[in-house]
Amino acid sequence: MSRTTSTAIPRSAVATMAATRRSVLRGIGLSGLAVGGASLLAACGGDDGPATGSGATVKFGINEAKGSGPAYDRLAAMAEAYTAETDTEVALNAVDHNTFQESINTYLQGTPDDVFTWFAGFRMAQFAEAGLISDLSDQWPIDGLNDSFKEASTAPDGKQYFVPASYYPWAVFYKKSVFEKNGWTAPETSDDLFALMDDMQGKKITPFAFGDKDGWPAMGTFDILNMRLNGFDFHMSLMAGDEAWDGDEVKLVFQTWKDLLPYHQADPLGRTWQEAATSMGNGESGMYLLGTFVVDAISDVADDLDFFTFPALDSSIGADALDAPIDGFCVASAGKNQDAAKAMVKWLGSAAAADAANAGADAPFISANSNASTSPYTDLQKKSAEVVGAAANIAQFMDRDTNADFANTVMIPSIQAFLKDPDDIDGITASIQEQAASILG
């Protein structure tokens, strides 16, 4: 979800700007009345079609507006291929990415589409708990989707509510030409990393590009440091709200981050991730920890890009966990056509669906289905698939792994406060803990 939440001019801005303070207040009142349900998203009416199979219609809500690029093209291609294969008509309801995300609550509680695009992680589980999405455990296992994807589709009640389609890893990106010229290699241990960073600084190259104007990119740094220093299990249980934010473990993460900050670009809070990516693209910075979407900002040097996973910082913990957010589909419980929706969602997880999507767009995604053809992939994507396949544990990124209220209103400002004043670790962790206790109960 992170990617589109942030460009120099956020797409949301256009939509949000229409909301003056007063309409915001009014919005609060309206949601209080629970009449907010009739939102943009529920634009499609609620007529009853035939039940299922040939001649049936499935409503498909997608979080990419028409013409927004390859992401839309892939989803549209999937819908088309499904119609071609099963004769079931698919009614697309294409909504701008941010609008979709921000209205998801009213959408699901109003008149949602039968199948809709969503993410694995805490928020999927939250919807499952609230009964807003349908149990899909009767559709699993799905041929080609391995156990780690099945686990990522499973809510705390042990049932599956999600079908994964694609994913992208977070890793440390660099330019091959720059590394070759300086004789650098991808670091494998903490010592390697520090030696590399010192060498870069000696050559007047900022080791890490860094931008956090939008608030979410630095969450990726927190995630990886926490997974490297405290392990995947601790990370997930911290995200679930079962560990203290002011404990020694979290303080260690911030302490390590503080030691790494001098190797990062200064003043990250005014820099967008695109600007940070540009600084790596033009060689001012040596490396950049980001998702594979970093390519979007520096596509002119895309062929020169390579990446490695963040090296181990504690040898007893290793480096076999990473953030790799998974995108996929859910079935809305309030959808009219449950059977047809379940049949479609199962197909969407298949290799055929992935191949149709990648054939229908300029830029392919990395399919979650291991039987999908890898021939359209770029080299970066082939390597991403290998790296993620080899990882023992996969996290979804902080804002998907924890309560959205907490991630957005507490963690973003707190991490920014830390980047502003890295010395006040005790104060910041104490403040996070206080607010976590209040929000997470």
């Binding site: 009014r26 609060i28 809070l269």
Partner: protein, 309 residues
């Protein structure tokens, strides 16, 4: 004739009798419609939501499920806001700075521009349009324009002056950077209001002042400015409202975080985006409403006192 003369006499001397007080049915219908329809709209669209916000502010609700899933927590939200919500006090402070800044700089500048442009100089229309242009531009566009100026690595200001100021990211400077952008927009607005006001000033007043030997400056401060009192009041009200609802520009820039906290943005952060802390957000909105009502009360008192005198 006699009958016509009698009627007002009667009205003046004795209270009108019930029979005469009644309007014809059609007029009555008109009056009732004109009063009740707007009243119903105001109640439905303003007062009911506002009261519901107040009610919601005593609960904790994430928007999932029916209204019976709201967990009532009393004053907990308000307590959290003033004790453990780090963004709140800076936000109050920033709103006050915003108010002070808008009252002083754009207002004075706008007034000055209006006086200069009112002199029918050559190209006055062009200047008017140029200064008013920012008011018409959409905020998304304004955010983008200023991003081009303020970007730390690629922005115009740092490129031209070779500086490395982090205009949007450094919490000590970004508020001022945004205030400049706001002033850029607000000045044109104030200018237009004063231009309209100046056009309405009776020309004979100026002539009289000129005949009495007052110079331009004296004429403005002693004759024109006092005459424009109603306009001044309007401008003050607009400035106060604008600074309390400061929201859009900071939202475009960084969603009201890191030095740009303002109450309006905090409300939005908690309820509009992905976060759905309806109770907490409502409590913030109520705080905002209370602050606004202080200013509204002051304004109404002034207006009513004026009407009485």
């Amino acid at each position: 004739m006699a009958h016509v003369e009698e009627a007002p006499q009667q009205g003046a001397s004795a209270p009108p009798q019930g029979k005469e007080k009644k309007l014809p049915a059609r007029d009555r219908f008109t009056v009732i419609t004109m009063v009740t329809v707007p009243l119903a709209l105001v109640v439905l669209l303003v007062w009911v939501p506002a009261l519901l916000s107040v009610v919601l502010s005593f609960g904790r609700w994430n928007g999932f499920g029916d209204l019976d899933t709201i967990e009532w927590v009393g004053l907990q939200n308000y307590e959290d806001i003033v004790t453990i919500y780090p963004a709140f006090w800076p936000a109050i402070q920033h709103n006050l700075i915003w108010l002070g800044f808008l009252v002083v700089f754009p207002t004075l500048l706008g007034m000055l521009l209006a006086v200069v442009l009112d002199r029918e100089m050559k190209g006055s229309r062009v200047y008017q349009t140029a200064f008013y242009m920012p008011v018409v531009l959409s905020l998304a566009l304004i955010g983008f324009i200023w991003q081009l100026f303020y970007s730390r690595d690629q922005g115009l200001i740092n490129q031209v002056f070779g500086s490395e100021v982090d205009w949007y990211g450094d919490p000590d400077v970004n508020l001022w950077a945004v205030l400049v952008a706001t002033a850029w927009r607000h000045t044109g607005y104030v200018m237009l209001i004063y231009l309209a006001g100046l056009k309405g000033v009776d020309a004979s007043l100026r002539e009289a002042a000129a005949v009495d030997g007052a110079n331009e400056v004296k004429t403005f401060f002693h004759v024109i400015f006092p005459v424009m009192r109603p306009i001044n009041l309007v401008v003050v009200v607009i400035v106060v409202i604008e600074s309390l609802r400061a929201f859009d520009l900071v939202w475009v820039i960084n969603k009201g975080r890191n030095g740009l906290e303002v109450i309006g943005a905090l409300v939005a952060q908690n309820v509009v985006g992905e976060a759905t802390r309806y109770g907490f957000g409502s409590a913030l909105a109520v705080v905002m409403m209370l602050i606004s009502s202080v200013f509204i009360t002051l304004y109404l008192r002034t207006v009513f006192r004026e009407e009485r005198s």
